[in-house]
Amino acid sequence: MTTTIQPILAARGLTKHYGRVTALDHSDFDLYPGEVLAVIGDNGAGKSTLIKTLSGTVVPDSGDIRLDGQPVQFASPIQARDAGIETVYQTLALSPALSIADNLFLGRELRRKGMLGKVLRMLDRQAMETFAREKLSELGLLTIQNIGQAVETLSGGQRQGVAVARAAAFAAKVIIMDEPTAALGVKESNRVLDLIREVKGRGLPIVLISHNMPHVFDVADRIHIHRLGRRIAVVDPKTISPSDAVAIMTGAKAPPEAGLAA
């Protein structure tokens, strides 16, 4: 990655304290257009705090975030979302009793045109279901036939699919995925990895947080290694072995000099 390309999402000097615990210690972050950037780090390294500052769930004590070169400040996930950053949470943030279509549009429902929508606030179910069906089939989630099906009737992988489809459908700039394969079996994990490639193929950059090295090395273009509250290296999965990446992550191996420049 050369310096002539501007990162789509960048952070400099992010710091966050929880009481006396330092979760983020002047951490940097760069995501370039069209790439899958994996973020790895040991438990407690602060990677989830880093991701939360980018998705608006946590407000950093100091440091700045730039989206498309413009400085941004997110006080809530809603603001990050409005700015074009969609997050697929580890918990998925789906409402199990509601349908697939209702979940896709949760918090941004479409209303009927004219008096029905303006005065009676009536939902435009048909438009929402058509859109939902379109988005799910675009991502190859055709096994889900009935868009009116409650999310709780779906398998774990299908639910992940719905959450990813929601993010992909509405993300204007960036998708953040937090441990999307952690709760899934081998077959379903592979489907989700395909889904990540599919979304990337459509030009959306993805931040992937994962503990699973085979998955990270399978789909990532670059790997951001987080340690002790900061980014200590960015490595290329094609030139480094998974065991070396883990060694850098745990401090057993010094980060490569070139890593920070990348």
Partner: protein, 355 residues
Amino acid sequence: MSRVSDPEKTAASDAAGAIASPDANRHTPAQRLQHFLHANPAAVPMIVVAVSAVVFAAAIGPKFYSAFTLTLILQQVAITGIVSAGQTLIILTAGIDLSVGAIMVLSSVVMGQFAIHYGVPGFLAVIAGLAAGGLCGLINGLLVSRVKLPPFIVTLGTWSIFGAITFIYSGNETVRSQEIDQTAPILHVFGNAFHIGHAVFTYGGVILMLVISALLWYALNKTAWGRHVYAVGDDKQAAMLAGIRTGRVLVSVYVVTGLICALAGWALIGRIGSVSPQAGQLENINAITAVVIGGTSLFGGRGSILGTLFGALIVGVFSLGLRLLGTDPQWTQLTVGALIIIAVATDQWIRRASA
């Protein structure tokens, strides 16, 4: 979709949903029943109303199965039906409101005091009462959403507070029916009845309860607000991350319920004739009973207004039916108690369908 509370539509979409679950044919009849009930929460109370009405009709004969008796049931459940419509909203958000009865009585006392003692025109007295109900709901809602106290504790407190304010404010005095008729007949409007043959329909009983239920059904199923109410009750954290302002949804639910309780207070004046601070002492328990028997889950996110309407009717059918059979009123209490336990046990069983 209307998976949560539209029996006809969901039955159809369930049939289509079978395509997505290849193991649908492996289910036993009991499991299929479980899934059907899971998708149609109002089905159980509807069946119970129908069956119990048929059984009582068979046991009592034409005395029960008359237009007069059946409309009497509607009149007797009216107040509980209105209050429990509001209670349904609260319970759908995984909350509970113990103060609904107290809000209802406080609102009716405010209407009576304004109209009779302050000499305010009747409709303004009604507006003052509605405002009092809305304010009570707002206090509950803010304590639940902003101070983040458990709804049970908040409304246990406000139940006592609103009740005490009612007695202090009214000086524990009843406003008599004649006084109301002379100065503010509008307060009695829901007591007026019209007759179709032997059927007696009070406005409070038929119209207000049905209109409120219909409006809430529409709001819950056809508007974004309704979807948000279900989402907040289902999984509040998920709803928040999905971009729903959960605090606002909660406050709105408590305020709407406060207003509905005030409307019930207005209807209560029509029903009992006078304005009494002693009235409706058990209305909070009656409302929770109707909601629970109506199949709405106390864990939130599941249930329907239609179910609550049936729940209120079940209590009404049993109360009147057992009375016409000449049994001791304690048998009614015993039966209602058993129904609550059976309803919650059924809910638990149905919820397992999703696991």
